[in-house]
């Protein structure tokens, strides 16, 4: 049983962490939290199942198509839901516009794909062993994203430009960085990460439209606990969340497990609103 808790817990924790990173990447580019992060995860699973299982597209092509779809959705989010509201003085409109977009995507999926969860294709023809592909795929995806982002931020110009925008948009603009294109690129990147999370986690979570609200919430917990914009914190918090959730599932069963997770989340957040590793408020006046 312990083995099951650990393998499932870490794997699902990696999925949550990836969604958390999706939130973070969008946040760094725009100072906005988007409700579409969870939807991206859902789309990764649904589209993966659609392309590979239903339409018979070969594995690699299907995978790339899913990532491309994620990037596209990310860009749409930026253009439709984020850019227009950044200009307005009312900061809170972004919550509404991204919520609307996320709902649109979820409902469309529910109607076209169906409200029932459908199986995700088995990607590699390896028999189920102790360490099944549904476990190591999310972990692999998480590691790849962390390393990839690290390399991006440290060694490429684009990555450093992303960091600049995240630090201080005005200074970055003053330096002549194309803020808008960089933001779009950030959202596209976030879209890829979110879709990857859903794809890698497809076998565990199944292709289900209802994953969107689940991932929206559980993907946000690592952000809230790990600190806004803090990717490493998100990974640690995500894995811990996954382990805690699985342990609760095994010990007390599904219903009480979600109550337990939520209670812990709320208590931690009320005690430390900026997260366990976060920074404090900025100048308001």
């Amino acid at each position: 049983m312990v083995e099951s808790i650990v393998s499932t817990g870490v794997a699902i924790g990696c999925i949550y962490a990836l969604i958390g990173i999706t939130y973070n990447v969008m946040f760094s580019a725009s100072r906005v939290f988007s409700f579409t992060a969870g939807t991206l995860g859902m789309l990764g699973g649904v589209l993966g199942s659609l392309f590979i299982a239903q339409m018979g597209v070969p594995l690699v092509a299907g995978f790339l198509l899913v990532l491309a779809a994620g990037a596209l959705f990310g860009i749409i989010t930026e253009i439709v839901a984020v850019r227009p509201v950044l200009k307005s003085l009312d900061q809170h409109l972004y919550v509404l516009s991204t919520l609307a977009l996320a709902l649109l995507a979820q409902q469309f999926t529910a109607i076209e794909w169906g409200t029932e969860s459908r199986p995700f294709p088995r990607l590699f023809d390896i028999a189920r062993g102790g360490f099944d592909q549904q476990f190591w795929m999310p972990m692999l995806a998480c590691a790849a994203v962390i390393i990839g982002l690290e390399l991006l931020y440290r060694y490429t110009l684009v990555g450093r430009a992303f960091l600049a925008i995240a630090e201080d948009t005005y200074a970055a603009r003053a330096l002549g960085l194309p803020e808008r294109s960089l933001r779009m690129a950030s959202f596209a990147l976030a879209g890829v990460i979110g879709a990857l999370a859903g794809f890698a986690g497809g076998e565990m979570l199944l292709a289900f439209f209802g994953n969107a609200p689940i991932l929206t919430f559980y993907g946000f917990v690592p952000v809230a606990l790990g600190g806004m914009g803090n990717n490493r914190g998100a990974v640690v918090a995500g894995v811990l969340l996954g382990l805690f959730q699985q342990a609760a599932n095994f010990l007390v069963g599904g219903i009480f497990a979600s109550v337990a997770v939520f209670t812990v989340f709320i208590i931690v957040l009320l005690v430390r609103p900026e997260g366990l590793a976060g920074a404090s408020l900025q100048r308001r006046v």
């Binding site: 189920r128 599932n249 095994f250 069963g253 599904g254």
Partner: protein, 396 residues
């Protein structure tokens, strides 16, 4: 329930008001409106989809043969989407706005729990195939009839099979969180205990939960020797079967009829996982000795094949139930006309209506029409054209 004068005046007033807004006179060749509340979409739609095929065929046949005394049947469908709130809305619309003579459905217990009292208040006759015991009550709901078995009948057959035939004493009972699932677990656990079986695990799990391994591991460590799932959600059931297979755990799965449906089969990871799965079903739609269906059923299957109706992805008895229901209602209306009270009194005297899937009998005190002895257990992986062989060791 006693009807107060005010209620009677009120409903009479509403009826007058409503009918004054409807067409002035109901001419002799106006269609008879039958309300229909299936769940055609949503998580509990397997039953509704199967039943729907039967109903559509039956209504077509009846209308093609001249309808009811020259009047065509108009089936007014409101998809409940497996949602009790939408079921209530739909039922309200059917009874108030559409002026139907009788309502068939809902087909899921969770939805019926809300709709049955509502239709009772609007004095609309109702026939439904839901299993939860409390959904008929000749005193509280005098116009409501059930042409399917009750949970008691189903549970008796399944529990008997597990305890007496398979001789398993330690049982795990699992269902989802719908009204049907919860009511079933609540009903079956005491029934098992009365048979001196030990219920080592009982739980309601969210049907959308993708990972049922924790639950099965808990069952296993509690020493369960049989798993009894009660849910109409094909995804949920298939996940139980798949997890059992992945764990390599050799215990029989005995339970809800949907375990055997084509939808469940389609979601299995390996076909061999379907071994040792025994859903409940009905004698009339099963292959008897010699691998043959009863005559009436065989003729029905031929009719279905001629009409090109798919049986492979659903259950024959759902289609049969759907087929029987409008025919039963039509017979009542042919005899006494579409007046609600007359339909009810006809049904109250119905004796062995020859349905494909079962002979239905009602009386003023008994609104559960399905005979006990027709409920049987079958072997899931013997599925052919929606019908099955009886389960091994099952005395016929």
């Amino acid at each position: 329930m006693s009807i107060t004068r005010r209620q009677a005046l009120g409903s009479a007033g509403a009826a007058i008001a409503a009918s004054s807004l409807a067409k002035p006179a109901i001419a002799a060749n106006e269609p008879i409106r039958v309300g229909y509340l299936p769940a055609l979409t949503g998580p509990s739609s397997s039953t509704g989809i199967g039943i729907n095929r039967g109903i559509q065929l039956a209504v077509q046949e009846i209308n093609a043969a001249g309808g009811i005394n020259g009047r065509q049947i108009e089936l007014i469908t409101r998809d409940t989407q497996s949602d009790p709130t939408k079921a209530v809305n739909g039922a309200a619309e059917l009874s108030h706005g559409q002026n139907v003579s009788v309502v068939f459905g809902p087909v899921n217990s969770g939805e019926s729990l809300a709709v049955v009292p509502l239709l009772a208040r609007t004095n609309t006759p109702q026939v439904h195939p839901c299993w939860v015991d409390t959904l008929t009550d000749p005193q509280k709901y005098p116009m409501c009839f059930r042409n399917a078995p009750t949970n008691q009948q189903i549970g008796a057959a399944a529990n008997r099979y597990v305890v007496e035939v398979l001789k398993r004493k330690k049982v795990a009972v699992i269902s989802d969180t719908t009204g049907y699932g919860t009511a079933s677990v609540n009903a079956y656990v005491p029934m098992l205990q009365a048979k001196s079986a030990e219920v080592v695990y009982q739980g309601n799990v969210d049907a959308a939960n993708p990972d049922l391994k924790p639950e099965l591991l808990r069952m296993q460590s509690a020493g369960a020797e049989a798993i009894m799932p009660w849910s109409v959600n094909a995804g949920f059931l298939s996940r139980i079967i798949n997890t059992r297979g992945n764990m390599g755990w050799d215990v029989p799965i005995v339970g809800q009829t949907t375990l055997g449906s084509g939808q469940t089969k389609a979601l299995l990871e390996k076909p061999e996982y379907w071994a040792k799965v025994y859903p409940n079903n009905f004698r009339n739609v099963c292959y008897g000795a010699g691998g043959k269906l009863p005559e009436r059923t065989a003729a029905f299957v031929d009719r279905l094949k001629n009409a090109k109706i798919d049986m492979g992805d659903t259950l024959l008895w759902w289609i049969a139930l759907g087929y029987d229901s409008p025919r039963m209602i039509a017979e009542a209306m042919k005899a006494v006309g579409p007046e609600p009270q007359k339909i009810v009194s006809y049904l109250n005297k119905l004796k062995e209506f020859p349905g494909v899937y079962g002979d239905i009998t009602f009386s003023p005190d008994q609104h559960n029409g399905y005979p006990d002895e027709e409920v049987v257990m079958v072997e899931a992986n013997s599925l052919k054209d929606g019908a099955f062989n009886l389960a091994p060791g099952y005395s016929s």
